[in-house]
Subunit: 340 residues, 2 copies
DNA sequence: AACCGATGGGACATAAAACGTCCTAGCAGC
DNA sequence: GCTGCTAGGACGTTTTATGTCCCATCGGTT
């Protein structure tokens, strides 16, 4: 069943919206017993005319009966509602979750795909697909898009296809090398995205673990500086979110820092910053590229991460308060709600 | 799965059409490998602009890739097509069948519901629902609608609901009493339909098994004559279709006539006439009401019958050649095709 | 190398559908 | 009989879908 809905969501995204709407109307009529058009419109927060369209449809298909005293569901409609119950639970589940999280963290948009990326590689693909779709929808012309590394971001890259606005865009790594394996480094992902979409890219080649003086001298380098300025002009940031300790380990952070992180209660990592439960920054990786203030003024910040194990981490980053769009999966979404 | 599609078919009939269309387009692109818009439009019998709308959609959702040399399905699209296969088989199965039967017997419209009315009472309900929907769609204002008896017709009556044009309509029995049990007699059904829709009705009370002189004297009766003339002015006929032998038995036809029927190869019964395999009339029940010539000039003749066991009978009546719309179920439809 | 045909994409007027808004007659319960 | 609902009609406006061209471009063929 879920697969059918997924297919339909992919082939006709509006479809499920209409289904939700019709169901809501029908269901509301049933609950109300007998109700009038205007009253119903008010209660459903629809305009009278739109509701009327639905009413006409439902009536013409014999799902409701209309009398002078108001509308009521017909026997056929009642049976339909009953049969729909499990289906609607499925359809609504995710969209309800989306709306809950969206309003809880004051986001612009939340997209949830079904499943758990921790256990299902299919869900991972879905996550990549959804991320790619969100990116495609938000990009306009000649945008600069900063991306981070990680397997989720790689998943997005693999699902991207070309489109007119994407073709003129620039893909850049959000920050310098952060010690991941090559195929998951931001540089690699930026270039792959550019390749997939027909867009352009610029890379930021800086070694990890810079000492203060090396850092300063690199910043003096005109070519490096020029690229960093370019990166900081980005309109869109797409980034993954990780568990703080796992990320620290993967990046081979030294023991002392790891201890500090642990003590500070670091839970999550995103674009090189570590966040505690309350969303406060407790540590920063010393590398070039986008800084916190850049994130804050970036027009569209898109976070993509899934899997039950990442739920808490995602909640932390959301609490940080500068995300605009979140793409996640069902398992993580349920965790996020728990940690609200 | 089938249930989900049934629900959706009921709640949003257009969307399955959209699904079919999008699938067809996508599938065709895959089969063609790389193809241009105009060529594709020609091959799919769509206008260029409409196809373009679909193309834009498919592209914006990353299901196809567009290059200067033409369009091709993306990896994502390919996966979607693969996943859709069983789904589409289900969705298309019926509509394909519909079209096959429609063109085979030169009908105006064929509606097929899923299942087998012989075995599933749910399919029987669906059949009634579909019949009611077809009737509702075809009725205009103040129509005279002649109906026959039978359990299928009773099913339609039970699913009818009121609507503006139906309210002004007249329901009449197509022919006089044909020896069924009361709740399945045409008279009963006509009055129930009127009750359900808010329409009006007139009944035709004539005894069964009329002798020739009684027949003649009844015809002289002004009130009877008046009603019969009224019935014959009908614009719409809705009738069931039965197996000849079963109907003969149910109506307690005498042994001699039964033997005659058998010898003449009677297969099907509809509105009091018996048809053989080729669709020729081999017997006629002696009662008042609509005659064959009336059926022939009636604007809309709607036949409703389902169940595998009735397939052959339905095919016979269709071959008779004066049906306009057929409402049946999947099992019967498959039989009908076999007997073409 | 030049040409031809098919390609995607842009543009625009028009038809059609969706929509917001207001009005009216009628029925139900008080 | 009055009040507050009800459904349904009407109409102008806005948005969307559609038919119909045109054009620059790319690929393959001559």
């Amino acid at each position: 069943m879920r697969d059918i809905l997924e297919i339909q969501r992919q082939l006709m995204p509006d479809f499920l919206e209409v289904m939700k709407k019709r169901y809501t109307v029908l269901h509301h009529i049933m609950v109300s017993g007998s109700i009038g058009r205007r009253t119903l419109a008010l209660s459903l927060d629809m305009t009278e005319r739109v509701l009327r369209g639905e009413i006409d449809f439902l009536k013409s298909h014999g799902l409701i009966e209309i009398e002078a005293s108001g509308m009521s569901v017909s026997e056929v409609g009642r049976q339909l509602l009953e049969r729909m119950e499990p289906l609607i639970k499925e359809v609504f589940g995710l969209t309800d979750l989306e709306e809950q999280i969206r309003s809880a963290f004051n986001l612009k948009q939340v997209v949830i795909v079904a499943g758990d990326a921790d256990h299902s590689s299919f869900t991972k693909r879905e996550l990549g697909l959804a991320g790619a779709a969100v990116l495609r929808k938000n990009v306009t012309n000649d945008d600069i898009i900063a991306v981070t590394g990680g397997s989720t971001m790689a998943g997005i890259a693999s699902q991207l296809v070309t489109s007119a606005p994407l073709k003129g865009s620039w893909f850049v790594p959000a920050r310098g090398g952060l010690g991941e394996s090559v195929e998951m480094q931001a540089n690699t992902i930026a270039s792959e995205m550019a390749k997939k979409t027909g867009g352009q890219y610029r890379l930021l080649h800086v070694p990890d673990d810079l000492g203060e003086e090396a850092y300063q001298s690199l910043m003096q380098e005109a070519s490096i500086k020029e690229i960093i300025d370019f990166v900081r002009k980005c309109r869109i940031v797409v980034h993954g979110i990780g568990d703080a300790m796992i990320m620290a380990k993967r990046r081979k952070v030294d023991l002392e820092t790891t201890a500090n992180l642990q003590q500070a209660g670091a839970l999550a990592e995103a674009f090189g910053y570590y966040f505690d439960r309350s969303g406060a920054v407790v540590h920063k990786m010393p590398t070039l590229g986008l800084q916190l203030e850049d994130i804050q003024r970036t027009e569209i910040v898109i976070g993509v991460a899934g899997g039950k194990s990442k739920g808490e981490a995602i909640a932390s980053v959301l609490r940080f308060g500068h995300e605009d769009i979140l793409v996640t999966d069902e398992a993580a979404a349920n965790e996020i709600i728990k940690h609200f």
